[in-house]
């Protein structure tokens, strides 16, 4: 029994296995739980990290979408309003992204863009907006938020020495220096035919910085042919080389002899003074210069701002006979003043005719009034084209063409007083042009014939029909005769805006012969002026047809004038004629080929000799595009010339703006020199003393109704993980 009992397991060992198993199970369980917790913790961390990243990118997509939508509002020249500020949503995967635009208090602000930013130093009307975007997951938790500030600037265009919509080429033959900013929305081509093109600051003139920018690429070389030559030097945004206080120049080299696209990595050497591919910025369309269709078949149902805001609208109507002026001949072309709606303004038209006939004022016979600086010259007249009897026509200006014979006009132009022979027969110029012109006799009354004739444009191969206006006399006469046209000190839109056009059957033609020519305006007789008054009035003269400016314009106090004014000249194309154009040339001007008649002569021979000329005005006009094998003349030929400027200088201070191709003239630039029988016979170039007008750096000195471009820039991106 006892043996049996000894062989049995002791009572106190019973359950040990179970306990062991339980202990082991507990250990394993705790291990498993710990492992599970660790794994779960890691998974949660990884998941949260992944969710926040995904949420962040979802929020960022909302931000990008919002900025794109809002950007379009500004690029269409609108500002957000009403519903634009409501939150908007989009779905990204299983997340809801909400983005919202908000406006900073104080919009808009007139600012000077700080140095260091694109377009720094420019005056701008700036709006500031914030876009916030958040991503919310399926559980309703906001995972991430991002934000951005962006600026919308309305920047006046005349703060650039050159601003182009299409490709811009600067390829001067002689050395050329530009001070100021250059921009094109297209491609920029820089070269020089064996000499040097320099784009530099000019601290002495208040030009402290340089910016050369392009919406697309910057090329070293020509566009019309793959050639790279000459020297192109552009200042860097760096001043480490003596003399100090002047940006350091750096040459943009050719690589070999062919045109090349300069990579951004190379442009970076200029530290921001040359910027490519900044994208297309919104600029006004060329239709801002169009009148209404009720006035001209070249107009539009929605006339441009220059017509809408004009203080005076003068319209010439080819083919429409107006009443005889004074004792003058009947059947002359109607010139009248119309309202914004395009209806003749009878009162102002009467005043205009009084102005045109006011010989005594013109001669200075009235105490304290006038006189004209073009005494004896009718202040408004038109340049007629030869009639059929003259045997002159498009491309015909010699041989059987007797266009300047006064008897070839119907009715005949009067004799030129005091001259005989050929001179007497030069009827197109029968009006004495004032003491300074050919020694013509002064007149106290006009003969009422407000016609001239015979301007042949070799580039267009056409006789031109021009409406000629003496802007200075118009402004002065208006002031001294009860202000029938506008208030002399009008400063709405920044000053006076005068719109003139030729509204004839060919106004809408892509290749017509119409134009407006302004003359006699060595100074603009407005109160104050640049440097005299804090916010001078200024004057803008605009037309939808070709614009011609003859002689000094807004030169200022020189030759007894008043201080220069903020001024701009706007047209389909801009043509410049020297101050010699209506004066005796080097070879004298004793026959019927004087003045406009010289345009039918060879470029050689001395009777198309230009003279030093000064113009202070911004230009806004069309420029034709270059194509392979067809150079448009480049910036150096933005103003179209018609004389032999050899040895003379065009002193220009202003801004060259092109909003696209010309609409009404398509004569190709064909180079310089030559004669009727060989070469282009259009012009020889002047010495180009061309500069940006630093006065335009002050917004108060900008010309009336200066066009603006819209500039949208993101300046800040922020993120906020939750």
């Amino acid at each position: 029994m006892s043996m049996t009992r000894r062989n049995s397991p002791p009572l106190n060992e019973r359950g040990m296995a179970l306990i062991g198993v339980l202990v082991l199970s507990a250990l394993l369980m705790s291990l498993a739980i710990a492992l599970a917790l660790a794994v779960r913790s890691d998974q949660q961390m990884r998941g949260a990290f992944g969710s926040s990243i995904t949420g962040f990118y979802a929020a960022e997509s909302g931000l990008n979408m919002g900025m794109g939508e809002y950007r379009n509002i500004f690029l269409e020249y609108n500002v957000p309003s009403g519903n634009d500020f409501n939150p908007r949503t989009l779905t990204v995967g299983n997340r809801t992204v909400t983005y919202k635009l908000s406006e900073r208090a104080g919009n808009p602000q007139n600012i000077v863009i700080p140095s260091g930013e694109l377009f720094s130093g420019l005056n701008a009307i700036q709006y500031r907006y914030i876009v916030n975007s958040t991503a919310t997951n399926a559980s309703g938790d906001v995972e991430a938020g991002v934000g951005a500030e962006f600026l919308v600037g309305y920047i006046p265009l005349f703060q650039f020495v050159a601003f182009y919509k299409n490709d811009l080429e600067i390829l001067p033959g002689p050395n050329m220096t530009l001070n100021g900013r250059v921009h094109t929305n297209g491609k920029l081509y820089l070269s020089s035919s064996g000499n040097t093109l320099t784009i530099a600051d000019n601290p002495a003139q208040g030009v402290y910085t340089v910016q050369v920018s392009a919406g697309q690429g910057v090329y070293r070389g020509r566009k019309d042919t793959t050639v790279c030559d000459g020297t192109v030097t552009i200042d860097m945004l760096e001043d480490k080389v003596a003399p100090f206080g002047d940006l350091d120049p750096k040459t943009l080299p050719c690589n070999g002899t062919t045109t090349r696209l300069v990579p951004q990595s190379e442009l970076a050497d200029w530290k921001g003074s040359i910027i490519s591919n900044i994208g297309n910025i919104a600029i006004p369309e060329p239709d801002i210069i169009l009148p209404p269709t009720s006035v001209s078949n070249g107009g539009t149902a929605n006339p441009g701002v220059y017509w809408d805001k004009a203080d005076l609208r003068i319209v010439a109507h080819p083919g429409v006979a107006g009443p005889a002026l004074g004792g003058g001949p009947a059947g002359l072309m109607l010139i009248d003043v119309v309202t914004a709606a395009g209806v003749q303004d009878a009162t102002k038209t009467t005043a205009l005719r009084n102005f045109m006939m006011d010989g005594r004022w013109n001669e200075g016979e009235l105490a304290s009034k006038g006189p004209s600086r073009m005494r004896g010259t009718m202040p408004i007249f038109y340049t007629d084209v030869p009639n059929a009897a003259s045997n002159c026509g498009p491309g015909v200006y010699s041989g059987a063409c007797t266009h300047i014979n006064r008897t070839n006009y119907t009715p005949n132009l009067p004799d030129r007083t005091g001259y005989t022979g050929n001179n007497a027969n030069s009827g197109a110029y029968a009006e004495a042009m004032g003491p300074g012109f050919l020694g013509g006799a002064a007149v106290a009354t006009f003969d009422g014939d407000y016609r001239r004739g015979g301007f042949y444009n070799h580039r267009e191969k056409k006789w031109m029909l021009l409406l000629n206006i003496n802007i200075r006399d118009l402004i002065l006469w208006n002031k001294e005769n009860g202000e029938p046209f506008f208030a002399h000190n009008d400063n709405t839109e920044g000053g006076l805006v005068i719109f003139a056009t030729v509204a004839g059957p060919n106004s809408n033609s892509t290749n017509n012969n119409y134009g407006v020519r302004i003359f006699g305006s060595n100074d603009i007789p407005l109160t104050g002026g640049i440097g005299i008054s804090a916010d001078p009035t200024g004057v803008t003269v605009a037309t939808d047809q070709a614009m011609y400016v003859i002689g000094d314009y807004n030169r200022g106090t020189v030759n007894g004038g008043v201080a220069r004014q903020p001024a701009s000249i706007i047209g389909d194309s801009i043509n410049v004629m020297s101050s010699n154009y209506w004066r005796s040339g080097a070879a004298g001007c004793t026959d019927q080929r004087c003045r406009d008649g010289q345009s039918s002569l060879d470029l050689t021979g001395g009777r198309r000799t230009g003279a030093n000329t000064w113009i202070n005005a911004a230009f806004l006009g069309g420029v034709s595009n270059s194509a392979v094998g067809n150079y448009n003349g480049g910036l150096e030929n933005y103003p179209r010339f018609h004389e032999d400027w050899s040895g003379t200088t065009l002193n220009y201070q202003g801004s060259f703006v092109s909003l696209g191709d010309t609409k009404h003239v398509n004569g190709a630039w064909c180079g310089t020199g030559g004669s009727n029988s060989s070469g282009c016979n259009i012009y020889n170039p002047p010495t180009r003393a061309w500069n940006f007008d630093p006065a335009f750096n002050n917004a108060a000195n900008l010309p009336p109704l200066t066009p603006r471009f819209v500039y949208v820039q993101q300046v800040l991106f922020t993120e906020d993980f939750k």
Binding site: G147, T209, V715
Partner: protein, 266 residues
């Protein structure tokens, strides 16, 4: 027999437990190292992505800066300070005014958003600039600077409120010995520990040059190269706080490419 079996089971289970525990510790170190690396990279990424906000985009390049030193690089990012509504705090010297080098108070177009104690940067139209501290905002169109400048600044010069962050590695000593860490220095303030255990920080810069594949440099050689930085390549290695039984640290490396969104205007 039962005791033997149980003993074997206990030994085996204990072994498993110990192994599991070691695995857990290793896992923990792994998580710790990974998290340290992630956190470090996240912060650097964030600051790099924001670098350049509200700052000049032309002239001297100030948005990024760095030092190349093998696996212990240094990187500095600068951003413009913003107002509570996120708009940038910056202004310009108005037309006709000049900031004289020695003067204290000077004119600006607007002093809104500036406050005493802010770090600021003034940029000449020639592209060069310098830093100063704002000590007072006397009026809505004036600021007062603490330090004299090296030269005068003409009209249109830009004035920007600046936030500067510098990341670099350093070692510190505790009871366990020498420990590497990533530190963050804001402006001229004392550097602060940002992530412990970061022992390598290698930064490279991909340029918009010769693309594709684009040049990659250890450090841009000059301003021109800095201003064509397309992407910053960040490589961070973190180690566990404690070594394992063999004395080896567990290490995790995180690599990421960061596109600074604010470097160039959009």
């Amino acid at each position: 027999m039962g005791v033997m079996l149980m003993g074997l089971a206990v030994v085996a289970t204990s072994g498993m437990f110990v192994a599991g525990k070691e695995h857990m510790k290793r896992q923990s170190r792994e998580v710790e190292a990974t998290q340290a690396a992630r956190a470090a990279v996240d912060m650097i990424i964030r600051d790099l992505r924001l670098g350049g906000a509200c700052l000049p985009v032309t002239g001297d390049f100030i948005s990024l800066d760095g030092i190349n030193n093998g696996n212990t690089d240094q990187i500095t990012t600068r951003t413009g300070l913003t107002r509570p509504d996120l708009s940038c705090i910056r202004t310009s010297v108005p037309t006709g005014a000049t900031v004289t080098a020695s003067g204290g108070v000077f004119s600006v177009s607007s002093s809104e958003g500036f406050s005493p104690g802010m770090r600021a940067y003034i940029r000449h139209p020639d592209g060069l600039g310098e830093y100063f501290d704002v000590i007072a905002v006397p009026s809505p169109t004036q600021l007062a600077k603490e330090q004299p400048l090296s030269r005068n600044y003409p009209e249109t010069s830009g004035v920007y409120a600046i936030d500067e962050r510098r990341f670099y590695l350093q070692n510190f000593t505790n009871w366990r010995g020498t420990v590497p860490e990533l530190v963050l220095q804001v402006g001229n303030q004392s550097p602060q520990s940002f992530a412990v255990g970061i022992e390598k920080l290698n930064i490279q810069y991909q340029l918009r040059r010769n693309c594709p594949p684009c040049d990659v440099v250890d450090l841009p050689a000059n301003n021109a190269e800095w201003s064509v930085v397309e992407q910053v390549l960040v490589n961070v290695t973190a180690r566990s706080e404690l070594p394992d039984a063999t004395g080896s640290y567990l290490r995790r490396t995180v690599s990421v490419g960061v596109k600074p969104r604010n470097l160039l205007p959009q």
